[in-house]
């Protein structure tokens, strides 16, 4: 690794770099977990967004942190770390989950995949090796980081199954939502999970880093007739808001990153109450705090906000402007008001091209998070603060019927 001086004095490249770099015509690069990744392959992101919603979008998600947890206590370790009941997972099943510190505050979120009786794959947004090791004390388990030696692609969109059926050895018709199965693709061994970060039909393909390019080529070739489009992370960011999926350190602050207690979030607050299994036996990290919160109720909750289009138009019309819509998801915090009192804030907001609505992930204090509650969101119109009316809705904003079918 240390062959030429300063050869490490640059960001990491993903195993697909050789393919995606020539396609990234506008040089719109973003940093993701220490890697350079494509923000968008065009200067606008509309084509990539609509590929997610209408065709098939191929996204390089290799920077995700990946860990293999293996051994007699593998299930025990993950059951200790996450609030879900890992012992009940079937082989080939995937769980989405957040995980907490012992105060019941979210540290990270990701997926757990049961690869075998004693072997799991964990994905996370932040490095998790240390947390895994700290929790594995006294257990018979090995933890291996696979972030760099594993490449990952996300193929999302209504045509994604058709594309994979064309290039995979085994068909994907029987692979259920949040299940995983080994397969061969472009002559290489891969595992494919029916998961994603867009809320559409979609798959994630996991492979050895050395197999990255042939797999990419095979999928692109198979997708040509289905309108496959290489897609950057900006379009995915829009789609994930529509799907009601949040992002670490954007929509919540990891408990270990927070400067003050008020910045931390619990799974209940983030709408992940369904992942917290208080009935499972034994200790898990954060159990006591989560039991307490379950008993006493949460102070606030993450919900959706749909801005009234007519109201938005009116606010702009007052100064003689048509509504101004940002081209990408906005990661700025915006106050949310009710009766002129601030009752929460939006952490990500975006125009939804498919819903034709302006939507936002909002954090609202009790009792204002009930669906149907009328609130106002602050927007800046011609350098002045204005308030656009909207309605609290349950997440997700958009869920096509074919997502889980």
């Amino acid at each position: 690794m240390n062959d030429a001086p300063y050869s490490l004095y640059r960001l990491k490249r993903t195993p697909f770099h050789e393919r995606v770099a020539p396609l990234c015509l506008p040089q719109n690069w973003r940093r993701w977990a220490g890697c350079i990744t494509v923000g968008s392959y065009d200067l606008g992101i509309d084509r990539e967004y609509w590929a997610i919603r209408d065709a098939a979008a191929l996204i390089d998600v290799s920077p995700l942190m990946k860990y293999l947890v293996e051994g007699p206590d593998a299930a025990r370790l993950l059951d200790r770390i996450t609030p879900r009941n890992i012992h009940k997972m079937a082989i080939g099943q995937v769980f989405y989950t957040g995980w907490c510190d012992d105060d019941g505050k979210l540290l990270d979120d990701g997926t757990v995949t049961r690869l075998g009786e004693r072997s799991f794959r964990l994905t996370s947004a932040e490095p998790s090796l240390r947390w895994l090791a700290m929790n594995a004390v006294g257990m018979d388990v090995t933890i291996t980081e696979a972030t760099d030696r594993m490449a990952a692609l996300s193929l999302q969109g209504p045509k994604s199954r058709a594309v994979l059926n064309r290039c995979c050895e085994d068909g994907l018709d029987t692979l259920r939502f949040f299940r995983m199965a080994p397969n061969r693709l472009g002559g290489r061994s891969v595992t494919i999970s029916r998961t994603g970060y867009t809320g559409d039909l979609g798959y994630e393909i996991w492979m050895d880093a050395a197999d990255a390019l042939p797999v990419w080529d095979a999928i692109m070739a198979a997708g040509a007739d289905h309108g496959i489009v290489p897609c950057g992370i900006l379009a995915m960011d829009m789609a994930r808001v529509e799907a009601g999926l949040f992002m670490i350190d954007v929509d919540y602050t990891a408990a270990n990153h927070a400067w003050i207690a008020g910045q931390k979030s619990s799974p209940y607050e983030m709408g992940l109450g369904w992942t917290v299994n208080l009935d499972k036996p034994g200790y898990f990290v954060g159990r006591r705090a989560l039991e307490r919160e379950h008993r006493e109720g949460s102070a606030w909750r993450l919900v959706g906000l749909e801005v009234d289009w007519e109201g938005l138009e009116r606010v702009y019309a007052e100064v003689g402007l048509p509504p101004q819509i940002p081209g990408t998801a906005v990661r700025g915090s915006l106050p949310v008001m009710r009766d002129r009192q601030q009752v929460g804030y939006a952490s990500t907001s975006t125009w939804s091209p498919i819903l034709k609505k302006y939507i936002a992930l909002v954090h609202l204090e009790r009792p204002h998070f009930e669906p149907g509650t009328r609130v106002e969101i602050e927007i800046t119109v011609e350098h002045h603060r204005r308030y656009a009316p909207g309605t609290v809705v349950a997440l997700p904003f958009y869920e096509p019927e074919w997502k889980k079918k």
Partner: protein, 508 residues
């Protein structure tokens, strides 16, 4: 005993003290001891042959209030500490002896005056200050340490405030002296008081005794006061009748109150369900259930061994792993023909403070001191040598291989000062830190269940925020030396733990 209210793991003196206090309060108490004999470090072991009855400690006595509360005098314990502690003696290079007592007796003053008239002049003030500091530390050890959360401080902070007020009442000079001395090194402290190097070193030795620090390490001042308090001065002072009397009295007192002691009953596991204690499982497989369990084992062993990391929060596990154990004391027992030539009392081999520091340097790098700091005590034919530093973790070697070296160096170092010693030797048996771990179940051979270093004291002992004997497992308490008040033989942490348990149950 069927269905005890409380199980105490370990019949060391703290375990027995805690159990007896609880039995006295009407609880059904069962003490489980893994060895065949009670007493922990106060009891010897058959594997050291002729020295089987020798305890690990040269002296030690329970605090007076414990003796009184538990009526130990009625069970054969001399009601007072043995009157004569003997002297604290340091051989000088010219063959003379520096003879110190923690008083202003003429012999001590004469002995110091021979080295430095100025030091002799300062001695009475030194003894006065040390006694006052030790008394204050005793009050500190008796004061429960609350958590440092605002709510806990408001609710339970009154004793702390009283302690702070008591500090002011020491008077300005002593108050500042006390605050400064805690964090000073042995050298810094000794240099401020005395100019004679042998005197500085003799005092400095007590300031590192039993702890893996050097004479130049901060925190020696605390250790000095701690040891001064436990010893009642400089020389070791035992209970009349010895350590075994103490153990016997405690066991008798426990039984008289209806408590039960089971020996040869090693606990394999503390049973826990969702952070609540349910009882214990013995190595035999037998399960005994109880809603309250006290452990006299060291915190590392209790938490990571008997409870197990998987039942505990990860940050807490990390802190438990981070407790500095680092035993570096070995004991060499020597049976002689009686002609060893070593005077009675406590003899210290520590010619200079740099000598002490050099002895410690070895420990830093995982080596046994070539020129160790020794403390010798004898009862007739048997000479017991406290050897420092003999680190538990040896770099490039193990204790099986090092035992002979340890014994050779101990004998050589003693023989240099006492010419007749070598020829008087009949039999040598040593106890290494590894033996202490194997036989006495002391993690890393640490006699104090955790180093008496600044970041492991008061509300940080054994783990910051957990010095009130509680653990993250409801109903499980620590009552050994590893908790606030502990370190050495005093019974303080056992007493404090019992009080804590009774306070909790009084609250319902």
């Amino acid at each position: 005993m069927a269905n005890p209210d409380i199980i105490v793991i370990g019949a060391g003196h703290n375990g027995l003290v805690a159990a007896t206090y609880l039995a006295r309060a009407g609880r059904k108490v069962l003490v489980l001891e893994r060895r065949e004999v009670p007493g922990g470090q106060l009891a010897g072991d058959a594997r050291i042959g002729a020295f089987a009855t020798r305890p690990i400690h040269a002296g030690g006595q329970l605090r007076a209030d414990i003796v009184r509360d538990l009526g130990l005098a009625n069970h054969g314990l001399a009601s007072e500490a043995s009157a004569d502690a003997g002297a604290y003696l340091a051989p000088l290079p010219d063959g003379r002896m520096l003879r110190l007592a923690a008083s202003t007796d003429a012999a001590t003053l004469d002995s110091i005056r021979a080295l430095s008239p100025r030091d002799a002049e300062r001695w009475p003030e030194f003894v006065r200050f040390m006694n006052s500091a030790a008394a204050y530390l005793e009050a500190g050890q008796a004061t429960p340490m609350p958590r440092l959360a605002n709510a806990d401080l408001l609710e339970q902070g009154r004793p702390l405030a009283a302690l702070a007020w008591k500090l002011r009442r020491l008077g300005r000079t002593d108050m500042f002296r006390f605050m400064r001395v805690l964090t000073m090194s042995a050298v810094e402290f000794a240099e401020e008081w005395f100019e004679s190097e042998p005197l500085r070193a003799a005092i400095g030795a007590v300031a590192i005794h039993g702890v893996s620090i050097g004479s130049m390490s901060a925190g020696g001042g605390y250790v000095l006061i701690h040891n001064w308090l436990n010893r009642g001065g400089l020389a070791h002072r035992g209970t009349r009748g010895g350590a075994q009397d103490m153990v016997n009295a405690l066991v008798a007192a426990l039984r008289a109150r209806g408590g039960e002691l089971r020996t040869s009953a090693p606990v394999a596991q503390v049973l826990v369900e969702r952070q609540v204690v349910r009882g214990v499982r013995l190595e035999s497989g037998e399960e005994i259930l109880a809603g309250t369990v006290l452990s006299d084992a060291d915190p590392r062993r209790t938490l990571l061994g008997l409870v197990g990391a998987p039942e505990l929060p990860p940050e807490f596990v990390w802190q438990a792993q981070s407790i500095k154990m680092r035993g570096s004391v070995a004991k060499v027992h020597v049976l002689t023909d009686g002609q060893h030539g070593i005077p009675g009392g406590t003899v210290v081999i520590a010619p200079t403070t740099k000598y002490l520091e050099r002895a410690y340097d070895a420990a830093k790098y995982g080596q046994v001191s070539e020129h160790p700091y020794l403390e010798l005590t004898h009862s007739g034919d048997v000479v017991s040598i406290h050897y420092q530093f003999a680190p538990y973790s040896l770099r490039g070697g193990d204790w099986q291989a090092m035992r002979a070296t340890l014994e050779r160096r101990a004998i050589a170092t003693v023989s240099e000062r006492f010419a007749g010693f070598r020829d008087s030797i009949r039999e040598v048996r040593s106890i290494t830190p590894f033996d202490l771990e194997q036989t006495w179940a002391l993690t890393e051979g640490d006699l104090n269940h955790g180093q008496l270093i600044l970041d492991q004291l008061l509300f940080m002992r054994p783990i910051p925020g957990w010095s009130d004997h509680r653990t993250p497992v409801d109903g499980l308490y620590l009552c050994g030396s590893g908790v606030h008040g502990g370190g050495g033989v005093s019974g303080v942490s056992g007493r404090n733990a019992a009080r804590r348990v009774l306070r909790v149950s009084a609250r319902g």
